[in-house]
């Protein structure tokens, strides 16, 4: 048990350095690691201390609420929060407010007036953008399948609904198969993709709604030995970037996770000093494919 070496620096809220507690939706996945990285960069720049934590899965709402509780117990100056279910956290946010701890929301909105600002991507709009590129690539006709990471989380629902609604409204020739859910697990998403392909040999396009789902779709397509399919993904990561370069994937939507982390800390520092902030900070999303993947502005928002 000589493993407690990481227990060094922490000293409650009493230290001279301002402290921002960030509770995110996840921790282990690349996307959240990129947000964390951005937040850490900005924190170093602004000379503040941060902690960044999140539950193991996006279904673990109680776990997140407990983390939030514990984060508040550490007496932070500001709280950064990406809600898995914003209403579940409402009492805690109320508590933060009554203790004069400003809350900065990120990644997705919080249904309440408490957060001073929200640094987020419009997931629905981003998914609609993906749908648009899919429809264009298929010339407006054909069967399209969706491999979604989750059926109950906000991001899963928005990225599914944004895609489906845009298609219904704008591409009558596209036939959508019922969405399948792979939990963001690459292997499971790959198996699902292969089943979809076996059951529907005439599928023309597949959409994967986050990194794990998108890479799973790519693996599934490769493993089934099919070619000529249009695959569109979400987020980045090396496997997806490679797939786009290699032509297995047409392109993907990426958010700007590093930028989101930076904006989050920046806004938090401002909130701490009582500066006024816009209600929403749009952290933006980008379509990238073979043509622009090496451009500086896209390179800046991708994580490997």
């Amino acid at each position: 048990g000589g493993s407690s070496g990481g227990a060094g620096a922490q000293g409650g809220g009493a230290g001279a350095q301002p402290y921002i507690a960030i509770v995110s939706k996840g921790f282990q996945h690349q996307f959240w690691q990129a947000v964390k990285q951005g937040a850490e960069q900005e924190a170093a720049k602004q000379n503040v201390r941060i902690t960044f934590e999140g539950p193991a899965t996006e279904a673990d709402i109680e776990g997140q609420v407990t983390m939030l509780t514990n984060a508040l117990a550490r007496q932070p100056n500001v709280l950064g929060f990406a809600a898995l279910d914003s209403r579940a956290a409402a009492p805690l946010l109320q508590q933060a407010k009554s203790r004069n701890i400003p809350v900065v929301a990120f990644d997705s909105g919080v249904d309440s007036g408490i957060p001073v600002t929200t640094a987020a991507t419009d997931n629905k709009a981003a998914a609609a953008e993906a749908a648009k590129h899919m429809a264009e690539a298929l010339g407006g006709t054909g069967k399209v399948a969706l491999v979604v990471h989750d059926q109950t989380s906000r991001s899963g629902i928005d990225r599914r609904d944004g895609f489906v609604e845009w298609m219904k409204a704008n591409a009558p020739g596209i036939e959508l198969l019922p969405p399948q859910y792979g939990g963001g697990d690459q292997a499971k998403s790959a198996d699902i993709t292969k089943s979809i392909l076996a059951a529907n040999p005439d599928v023309k396009g597949i959409y994967g709604s986050n990194e794990g789902s998108a890479i799973g779709v790519v693996r599934g397509v490769q493993e089934s030995g099919r070619s000529g399919l249009t695959v569109i993904g979400f987020d980045s990561g090396q496997a997806q970037i490679d797939a786009i370069r290699g032509g297995t994937m047409l392109g993907a939507i990426t958010q700007n996770p590093v930028g989101m982390g930076q904006q989050l800390v920046d806004a938090s520092v401002k909130a701490m000093h009582g500066e006024s902030l816009p209600k929403v900070i749009d952290t933006g999303f980008f379509w990238y494919d073979k043509s622009n993947i090496d451009s500086p502005e896209i390179k800046a928002v991708l994580y490997q």
Partner: protein, 334 residues
């Protein structure tokens, strides 16, 4: 905590049985020691750990796992296991939402309905185990999958919010003692734990729970209707699952159909850390409560200390090993 003291004279004249009870009591106190050591450690290293607010937080975060663990203690003492408690809890939460929010039934009836629905799930488990003779692991694994699916089906894959019934939310985070900021959920856990203790130690049901786990065949040969009691015990565990469903949805203000997976492992871990044997026949409610507390104190303490998250699980694993080992070494030493 005053440890019972006995003079040397008393000890020598006391009959063996009395001495044994005494020793048992001391030992349970010692089992408590692991918890105290961990607690003391965190209090020393972190200034934010030991204060009213945080101790309340710890107790509060024990509620759901604690309730599940209490129910499953009975099942495990019979030598069985219940994997369906996690997703079963989610399904019961959804049922509660359907009854109270969607159907508009009065709160007490909705709550009772959800708890009874949990009992129904347990009943099905009990029938599968006791009547069809399926291994408990399989029967409850199947129920785990079924409950997970049904929770999504029934809720249409969307959370059900209890915003319009603030009384429901108060079941968990409200405070009976005004101003004390002491959540009702903790009181409920305490009351239920006492009830469970009484049930296990003072009733026929409890006696047969141990008896079945100790030697099922012999129990049957002694003229006890083992089937019926097993069905009852699984049903009882289901009622706890139902209550846990109510408490988690009250805490979150919503019934979340996708949660629950993984809770079963945590609850079983709490039971086993508390000294209940998976092979049946042995166990206690006090132990389970201590086991659940050890887990939540560790989780809380590591988070409060801001240990890097990837290290938290590593430490958690090692401490669990140590705690259980210390407990066993002590028992062996006697």
């Amino acid at each position: 905590m005053t440890s019972p003291t006995v003079t040397e004279e008393e000890r020598q004249t006391a009959p063996a049985s009395v001495r044994r009870t005494l020793r048992d009591r001391i030992q349970q106190f010692l089992a408590f020691a692991s918890l105290i050591v961990i607690f003391g450690f965190f209090s020393m290293v972190s200034p934010n750990f030991f204060n009213y607010g945080n101790v309340t937080n710890i107790l509060f975060s024990t509620v759901v796992i604690g309730l599940l663990a209490l129910g499953t203690t009975f099942v495990i003492i019979t030598g069985g296991i219940d994997l369906s408690i996690g997703t079963g809890m989610a399904l019961c939460a959804v049922i509660s939402g359907v009854l109270i929010v969607n159907t508009g039934l009065p709160l007490p009836i909705g709550v009772l309905g959800a708890i009874l629905f949990g009992g129904l799930l347990g009943l099905v488990n009990g029938l599968n185990v006791a009547v069809l003779g399926l291994p408990p692991f399989i029967a409850t694994l199947a129920m785990m999958l079924v409950a997970q699916g049904l929770a999504l089906v029934v809720s249409n894959s969307t959370p059900i919010y209890f915003d319009q019934t603030p009384g429901y939310i108060d079941l968990s985070i409200g405070s009976l003692v005004p101003g004390a900021n002491f959540p009702n959920a903790v009181l409920i856990l305490a009351v239920v734990a006492v009830l469970a203790g009484v049930l296990l130690n003072k009733t026929v049901l409890g006696r047969y729970t141990y008896s079945i786990g100790s030697n099922e065949e012999a129990t049957a040969l002694s003229g006890i209707d083992v089937r019926r009691w097993k069905i009852l015990i699984y049903t009882l565990a289901g009622l706890f699952t139902g209550l846990a469903g109510v408490m988690i949805s009250a805490r979150l203000g919503s019934a979340q159909p996708a949660t629950g997976m993984g809770y079963e492992l945590q609850a079983i871990a709490a039971v086993v850390i508390g000294g209940t044997s998976l092979s049946g026949g042995k166990g206690s409610i006090v132990g389970t409560v201590i086991g659940a507390l050890i887990i939540s104190v560790l989780n809380n303490g590591l988070q409060i200390m801001s240990i890097p998250q990837e290290w938290q699980n590593v430490i958690l694993g090692c401490v669990i090993l140590l705690a259980v080992y210390a407990d066993m070494a002590r028992k062996r030493a006697r």
